[in-house]
């Protein structure tokens, strides 16, 4: 409501800048803050977020909007909640999504505490999603919808959350930026990569954080689902389910990584068919709506931007959910997120533990 204080998380990008601008137009008492989440040292290359340039852009936008801007140092907590988890997940042969952890722990928990500290009744971000009647809904822009990364946030945050660009599509957001005179950021490129992974080379982060003899980065066998060793790899953490790069050739059909077995450091490869799963189990559940009953038909997403897939809940307890898919899905990957939807509404989600109902693997004969 007009005059009430809102703390806006500002990355220096167009979405959060326009979000802040819209709130200023609506008459809120807007305070901008940029979270400093990690430090690459003194030579900070220009990164989509968290770099010095990004902080400067956010500050410049706040100056133009006439609102105060602060830099919040959340490095320690982010390092623990997000970066350490990222490393440990890869060490377990899984493929994590740090953005989900960042939203859950950093943006919508630590940041909300900062809002409390300055008596801000509201928090806002530039996410493409919508909040209505304390429910979370997919953003209007189907291409930009970010709810896949938001299933883990605390449900009580929804009652004080504003997502001003969730009603816009990206082009409209950029137009608003121009109208607001925010030329500094109006045409800024999108950030797609993981913010703390410079140049997208995540394995380098693992090399920095893990001991040199870590199993996840040590050589191991590449095997077929039938158990034949067909090659060697330089560390299973360099692989993810569905990957084709780094997989040996010479098979009658294209081969994919279909499983990672940290126990014997094996990367298991198989055909496209072997990549399909007809169900999945997810853990670390979080609900943004009353949990649905067993037997409920839901829509799910197991990968950002994948089309929604119909599924049925076959088991649900405090720790885990099991789903049966109407149609098999490829590359259901441990560590990735499961988001559940009822129409546009986000019901909740969890972290994928395993795919189920894989087709019995057929022996593959070398050509």
């Amino acid at each position: 409501m007009k005059g009430e204080r809102v703390l806006v998380a500002m990355s220096g990008g167009v979405d959060s800048s326009v979000a802040a601008g819209i709130l200023v137009e609506r008459g809120y008492d807007v305070v901008g803050a940029t979270m400093k989440l990690f430090c690459h040292g003194e030579d900070v290359p220009d990164r989509p977020c968290c770099s010095l340039d990004s902080v400067n852009d956010a500050r410049r936008v706040c100056e133009q909007l006439g609102i105060p801007h602060y830099v919040l140092n959340l490095e320690t907590r982010f390092g623990h909640d997000v970066v350490d988890d990222f490393v440990s997940e890869y060490s377990r042969g899984r493929t994590p999504i740090p953005c989900v952890r960042c939203n859950t722990f950093t943006k919508f928990r630590d940041f909300v505490r900062k809002a409390n500290a300055i008596d801000a009744s509201w928090v806002a971000t530039g996410h493409y999603a919508r909040v209505s009647n304390t429910g979370l809904f997919r953003g209007v822009d189907e291409n930009k919808d970010q709810t896949y990364f938001l299933w883990g946030i605390d449900r009580e945050v929804l009652s004080r959350l504003i997502l001003p660009v969730g009603d816009l599509d990206k082009a409209a957001t950029r137009r608003r930026a121009h109208v607001m005179g925010l030329e500094v950021i109006a045409e800024k490129a999108e950030s797609q990569e993981i913010c703390f992974v410079p140049d997208g080379d995540y394995a380098r982060i693992l090399e920095q954080k893990l001991p040199p003899d870590a199993p996840a980065l040590s050589p191991g066998p590449i095997v077929t689902s039938g158990g034949t060793v067909v090659g060697e790899h330089r560390g299973f953490a360099r692989y993810t389910i569905g990957q084709r790069r780094g997989v040996p050739g010479g098979f009658p059909s294209p081969m994919y990584v279909i499983a990672i077995r940290p126990g014997d450091r094996a990367v298991v490869i198989g055909s496209r068919d072997e990549l399909l799963g007809s169900g999945l189990v997810a853990r670390e559940l979080n609900w943004l709506a009353p949990p649905p009953a067993v037997g409920t038909a839901v829509s799910i997403r197991v990968r950002h931007r994948a089309p929604l897939a119909p599924a049925q809940i076959v088991r649900l307890d405090d720790g885990a959910i099991e789903l049966a898919l109407d149609e098999p899905l490829a590359a259901i990957t441990p560590g990735q997120s499961l988001a559940l939807y009822d129409g546009d509404r986000v019901l909740g989600g969890g972290v994928i533990d395993k795919a189920t109902g894989r087709r019995a693997s057929l022996p593959v004969l070398a050509a």
């Binding site: 430090c39 919040l72 900062k114």
Partner: protein, 392 residues
Amino acid sequence: MSPPATPALVYLDHAATTPVREEVLEAMRPFHDQRFGNPSSSHRWGREARAALDEARERVGRCLGARPDEISFTSGGTEGDNLAILGSWRAMKAKGRRAIVTTPIEHKAILGAVHQAGREGAEERVLGMTSEGVIDPASFDSLVDEDVAVCSIMWVNNEIGSIQPLPELAVRAKERGAVVHTDAVQAFGKIPIDARTQHFDFLTISGHKFGAPKGIGALFIRRGSALEPLMHGGTQERGRRPGTENVAAAIGLARAAELAVAECRSHCDRLERLRARLEEGILERVPDTVIHGRGARRAPHILNLSVPGTDSESLLMALDLKGIAASGGSACQSGSISPSHVLSALGVRPDLAGAAIRMSLGTLTTEACIDRVLEVFPSLVAKARTLAAQSA
């Protein structure tokens, strides 16, 4: 009924910077205007500017007990510190002395310059400190030996206000043949400085800490001291700091320095009283507040405190949004606050270092400012603690 008056803004960050004094602006004005000449020019305009600059140099010299040729104008504290340390170390290393001694609680300008000397081959020696922020004499005696080229010691610490016994330390370092530099940026105007009776070789001051503009300072360079310039070019400042002199600012510096010296006693008495009220008022309302450097002799304008169970970042934001300016640890390039290297060096617990708030008093500070802080601060602390307890 009339609406309640908006509470006045309270500026408690004088150790960061101060407003330019009216008298200083007045003194500077002609040199931005009709008397705009370049002091290196030989014509009427140049002579006029030269005369003013010479006079400013004499006046700044008098404020420090120095002769005019011992004063070099600089852009401020960082330049003065770098010129003194790197300039004298580079000149001294030819004489076979390789070590630089300093404290871990120096301003980043000193630490950065010493690290640079380290990259050029200097041995960096860091003095041990007491938990109150004073140099441990035993450490001083063992580290300051015949190998030491330069010994740089901050006179008044900018974060906690602790005062080093600089005159005594200077005598001892000189006995061992070291060049002595002191960063007196926070000391000037708070502590009597007299180059005739005190034995430092180099002394840095910065104008904007006492009512002169930003971008002007001075380095005292005792006659006969070896110094290599950092910049090369013209012969200005005896070749030690080439570049057309900032005449107007030098005059502003001279005026501000004279006022600061003349008012030193009364200003310090006033700040001492105000700080005591602030400190006691906070301790009364928040009894477990930790006052850093409380056991040391402290300059009267700095109060650095930590309230257990709070964090500086949140408290500073909350204070700012109530119109009260204070500061935290060292701000990094991005503006985010990291725990202060000064408090860490004094062995302050990380949670307390992360909660540190520096309030620094000065010309803008009145009784009403203290009242306002005492009204607002305890409630912000209480709130911060409640929130911390909830999220623990």
